[in-house]
Amino acid sequence: MDQDTIIINGNHLVFRSGETILETARRNHIDIPTLCHLKNAIPTHTCKICQVEVMGEPALVESCAAKAKQGMTILTDSPKVIEARKEVIKGLLASGYHNCAAREMDAKDWTSFQLTVLKNDGKEDLCPVWGDCELQDLAYRYQVKTRHTPSKECRYDTERANPFIIRDFSRCILCGRCVKACREIQVNNAIEFGYAGDDLKIIAKNDATLKDSDCVFCGECLQACPVGALVPDKAFRDHRFKDTRKIRTTCSFCGVGCQMDVFVQDNKIVKIDGADTDLPPNHASLCVKGRFGYEFVASPERLTRPLIKKDGKQVEASWEEALDLVAQKLSAIKSESGPDSIGVMTSARITNEDNYIAQKFTRAVLKTNNIDHCARL
């Protein structure tokens, strides 16, 4: 038992060989904040938020990089740690255009903080991910105020040259998560760190826009970005304060069957994210169709009423009329020309339950085996 244990905040925890302090902590539900760490990717340790105090070590240690070692005694929230984290957060807030009110926060509690922000929400340029930003959360949690620190000017223009992802470099904290997501999770190798020093920037090849790069708009980077530097080019930005419901479901495009979280406001899908990183088959990844291809659901072109052809033209009809007509026609053809003169094409799009009923209807009611779907096509 003593073999592989470390002590975090007084808790004796067993670690697995090769595990980092961060991994052991997370597995045991001890929260150590990070901004650059991305699950299933090699640690970048650029953000320094995950620092912890290891007894006997002169300096703080990055928990995402340091391996757990037998007998280590660790404090994740000591005064020294908190002070260091505050400094880091302050620096990050000042590094760009983080005008989300986290900077001017004097409020004592979350409610009055929200009220302050609501008041400012009329402002056009309020950060679009307000309320869904890991940096803002940390700023609040550690009560970091940077009202008097001037923020750095950003020399790069916001990119809106593609239909799905807005790249706002003024809010980029250069944590590198997007690069990891693109290169190590989806392996699309579309983006990387470019230029140096003060000019550091996340770029596509030759600093082209995403549309003219190898980017395939899977949105893995978007989902990984902890702040408002990568945001979907969608109405979601304008609806932050509306009620949002989140529903877990399965993608309806290809046979991978990715698990996804659908965000709904006013009976409309406003965003889709990949589900949990631990959840098979897709471990939170999606592709461009799954993530962005949902507009068809609320399309005005959806069929809303039955149609019946009359004098060569399709006209709207009631369900009663349509169902009666189909039932009567099918019955007549069945008795005149036999069951095998009717065919049913079911679908690879509809659910198992729908398909089961379709074949039951064909076999038990129509009394034919003429049922197939377009899987071959």
Binding site: K211, G255, G257, P306, G343, M345, T351, D354, C374
Partner: protein, 526 residues
Amino acid sequence: MTNTIADIETSDLILVTGSNTTENHPVLSSFVKRATLKGKKLYIIDPRKIKLTEYADKWLRPLPGTDIAWINGLMHIIIKEGLQNTAFIKDRTENFEALKTLVETYTPEHVEAVTGIKTGDLVEVARAFAKAPAASILYCMGITQHTCGTDNVKSLANLSMLCGHLGKPGGGVNPLRGQNNVQGACDMGGLPNVFTAYQPVGNDEARNTYEKAWSVTGLPKNPGLVVTEMVQRAHEGSLKALFIIGENPMVSDPDLNHARKAFQRLDFLVVQDIFHTETAQMADVVLPAFCFAEKDGTFTNTERRVQRVRKAVEAPGEAREDWRILCDMAGRMGYEMSYASSRDIFKEIAAVTPSYRGITWERIDKVGIHWPCPTEAHEGTPILHTTQFTRGKGLFHALAHTPPAELPDRDYPFILTTGRVLYHYHTGTMTMKTQGLNVLSPECFVEISESDATKMALDTGAMVAVSSRRGKITAKLKVSSKAVEGTVFIPFHFAEAAANELTNAKLDPTAKIPEFKVCAIKIEAV
């Protein structure tokens, strides 16, 4: 798939053939690409220089329609060098001698003459595949959409069995299903010859079970017609009525001209769908249905995992759930089919479907389960055939190469192959409603190699007329490094320039899949 998606990353070698994985199964392709980051071997055998070739150790380029030849060629080399898995062949398979005799003539030189694959490359892949501790084969429509599609699939199984790569982690022969619930539609008996879980309609016992479960008599015992045969019979006049649910054959069927005439000859056409598709426009009655975001139910993915679909939004107008419409119809035709919810339907499915018996909605609430799952205590089956094959011993099929039904000639000098692009899905009825996807992929194109384009003195953007013996379309030319001389690719999503006006409806005799992947065409400037 015999194995799981996650399993791909644990293979030592991945052989991808006839699958443009990054565009058709994007998230699955990440597993393949990540495997290469870990130093696993990747070989691609495909007529197009698809994106995935950039990640591969080697890309082998066969002429379209010569798959059996190169597969036999690989087996020839493996057997000749004694690299086959003798223990696996002895314990788990039969008919090896027949295979061995057949592949004797498939020398690398002969295979090169037929397929165009270089001798040295074929030898390299054969050795690597046989020596890998676990090698996985991934394939898609590029293998199945041929007149010899069934034999292509059997040949891949031969190859995998020969090296003992079946029934273990990191191995397997893995078909990637195109549409989201193809697996489920097949499992549920949406096929002319079987009930759920592939129980044959001709089997008296199976019919008895169903007659009891459904309280009916006289279930038909002769297998019915496949889609392509239905279209044929409609054309001839013996099929009078067609009920189409959520499909758009007026874009997806081969030889559209023929299909259009067939549909016009029907006495009665019903289409149940979410949009007024090209097919719905021809219908006598159109019934508005729910889409996935409005439904509760299950889909079964390509790795046989049964997963939940949940209602997120209310459906528009008077649209109704597919199953409710069918139940209402059944009632009117004198047979009571009533369920309180789709969960009740799933309970009935589990009761009559051995491979789904142990699955309940509660059990798959968080994580889906792989069938077969015979009891509620069973955890599901991520890897098939670990101890034996469905029929007991695995059977080697000795299969000879047969050329495609239509080959290029003087009048129609190019080979056409069809497929999908990343930004659209099937006939585009859903993806073309998202503006951003149309921005990234606005229209049909004719993908051609640089050398062919130069010969015709045409460049990207030129409008061309493409014709086959069956039809003609016009679209813009796109010179691409993915194309190889003599072969042209056209995506089939676009109704305005439907590639299927050109394709050949000639069928594989067993699977009855049309030969979408090879037909002869000519290209002219307009």
